[in-house]
Amino acid sequence: MAVFNLNINKKQYQVDVDPSTPMLWVLRDHLNLVGTKYGCGIAQCGACTIHLNGKAVRSCITFVDSIGDKEITTIEGLSENGEHPVQQAWLGHDVAQCGYCQPGQIMTAAAFLSENPHPSDEEIETAMNGNICRCGTYTRIKAAVKTASNS
């Protein structure tokens, strides 16, 4: 066990955990930030996507001892109450079915659009291809990313 000071959603947190603990479980079990979802644990589904210094990473394979002073953003910190353009686009297109994968989809899309604000359809497909939606909302996700890119 070791103590880690973490900067998450612009707040300071302290946790005392095994250094090999993935951020996914630090967030969910220790900090009650459960918007970041467990889907596969092996970086195949994208449900656990968070931002590390603004870049999308898989929190299930990002270990707490690798964070240092980097800034973490989770779905809870993307905006105060869903005002982020990507969240608004998701609401506008009423994307979700079960909704479980959507925080991860949104975090991937938000990081992608901050780097590529006006992507082509193919670029959207490539950027989002690591995020599985078992309900099959892909066409709505693509439409929402396009809407967000135009806002």
Partner: protein, 750 residues
Amino acid sequence: MTIVKTTYNRRSFLKSSLAAGGGLMIGFSWIASACSVDTPKGIVIPDEWFEINAYLKIGENGVVTIFSPNPEIGQNVKTSMPMIVAEELDVDWKNVLVEQAALDTSKYTRQLAGGSDSIRTTWSALRMAGASARTMLRGAAAKEWNVPVEEVTTEAGFLKHTPSRKKAGYGEFASAAAEIPVPEKVELKEPNNFTIIGNSKKNVDGLKIVTGKPLFGLDYKVDGMLYAMIIHPPAFGMKLKSYDPNEVKNMPGIKDVFTLKTYNDDYERQWSDAISFNEMVAIVGNSTYEVWNAKLMLNVEWEPFKEQKYMSAGWGGNANEVNVPAGLESTEGHIAKMKAAAAKPGRIERRDGNPEEAFRKAAKVLERTYTAPFLAHNPMEPQNFFADVKEDSAVVVGPTQTPEPMQKSVADRLGLPLDKVKVEMTRMGGGFGRRLYGHFMVEAAVISQKMKAPVKLVYTREDDMTFGIYRPMYHAVYRAAFDKDKKLTAFHVKMGGVPENALHANRFPAGALDNYLAESWAIDSNISVGAMRAPGSNFNAAAEQSFLDEVAEEMGVDPIQFRLDLLKRAQENPVGERNDYDAARYAGVLELVREKSGWDTDSAGKNRGVAAYFCHNSYTAQVVDLVLENGEPKVEKVFNANDCGIVINPDAAINMTEGSVVDGIGTAMFGELTFNQGEPQQNNFDGYRMIRHAEAPKKIETYFVENDIHPTGMGEPPYPPVMAALANALYKATGTRYYHQPFVKNSFGS
């Protein structure tokens, strides 16, 4: 207007209390961050609530809370069911809050998510709940205003008496309405007066979903909660032999390691108690990660089991003895056994005319074999459940499609009276049928009972994918007989599977053909199976609708016209006593998709396939357009035509259809679970290929047949036929027929 008696489970309309008291009722103790109830902008939470019936309560300010009784699995009933109540209550949707009801069999009927049946089976009760509340509000106003009740009308949350120009919000009369006796008869709106039903409403949990609020079972927590995981046999046909807990018992955060038996040996199982491995090892500790580490370190020995027997009931049936054969099965063995079984006569399920003679006399016989593999459900949220078991009561909370039967299972296993087991449903991260089988609820309860503490049982993805209860493996041989003029004279289907087949002998094209034969067979297996999205139908449609395409081609007729001609026969002069479809509605979706896709005018140069199917009380026809890019198929567009009667929430029904299309294409192209020596060969998304963004259709258009027929469901019906529409379009693009799922393995080599 329609006047109906309020006969539908009158208990749900009886008042359980006058006022539920100030503030929203929170059913369970969420962690602090979950305790804040997010209210839509503009809604002010009332100081006082007046409970009118089990489905709704009204605040003094006119805000209405509607309780959604059925489990929400992503099919959007948490929005569409309250819409039906709100319609008949005649309230402005902007003033409606929605809460998930807990299991309460005394108030609600069929709190189950399955069979695309939530809306169909609750439509009448939901309408009556809204209409009886509206009647009581009118009665209260008539009494206060001293006017005849017939003269009191309603409009979007207001009561009006036009002659005296009196007007008041529902909130002003909520208290008095709660005192009015439940009416014997209520008025229901005519569908052409609907203002909420038929007008798309956004998902009531939309904001919580996109902001990551705790909604799902895996998110549920209470203070002092422990985490538990299971270790189950790695292969079907194996059981627990021994394990050594000593090494892991002292690992950090580990509380206990013990053997867990889900159901007792003498317990008579219900259909929803399906389970693959009844004896496992449970590990309990302080956090998911610590428990997971111990799980990886634990040394467990397994051994093959001998034939097992237990008593179990089927869906709605009596208990029978179930035999689970011994052995370590492999996919190759399954394929060989299926080939052998298909060569023998099957059990005749339906026989019209003299099919044997028609085949003997045929100028030509077309015979084709179709297969499909085992599939795992793979909901994005792995199985999990919370249980807090005390001496004399228990609370279980989490994602389940079958709270009602599983309450009995949990109560029986814990030795508690049924009414001492409280079951609450969280939003589910998908289910697709997997959460019809709630063994994990019992497991969580047993672990909590032993630990004397609240426990969250968590399956890893690997546990979820390798625990069984799969879609069965299927095999079908279709034959068609033609005379010298290429007229279809007989039709024969012989369908089998491991360990059950998918035959629906009385569905189309039965009823449209003079000579028809349907046979079935099945092969025993110890691999457990259960319902997966449109069970049976999902293979039936894929195979049959591909075969019909080939039959039409053989006859030299258009595949849509071919089906319409058969349906005309079934409508005008049906063959046989029992045909489980409405031929006119079936033809209706085909005609609609023909029109919307421009089938007759816009098909030149396109690789198009068509298919249609009826299952779970709704009809769907689909046209798939695709192109080949570097030899890989890309679906450009899918046209859907559905008939599910009255469409409650159109955009949500469209979303369900789009999801079914994507899921169906993914299943047909990529889905497969294989076995070697009883062991599933895929255990996570690196091995089990799921459809991804770039493989989804570029565009999906969805249309509905407009009618006033009692509404039916959309969770399953568009899923099965799209697989055949895809196969038929692939044939157009490649010149090759696709008989064996997953298509990608047999054809595209990636």
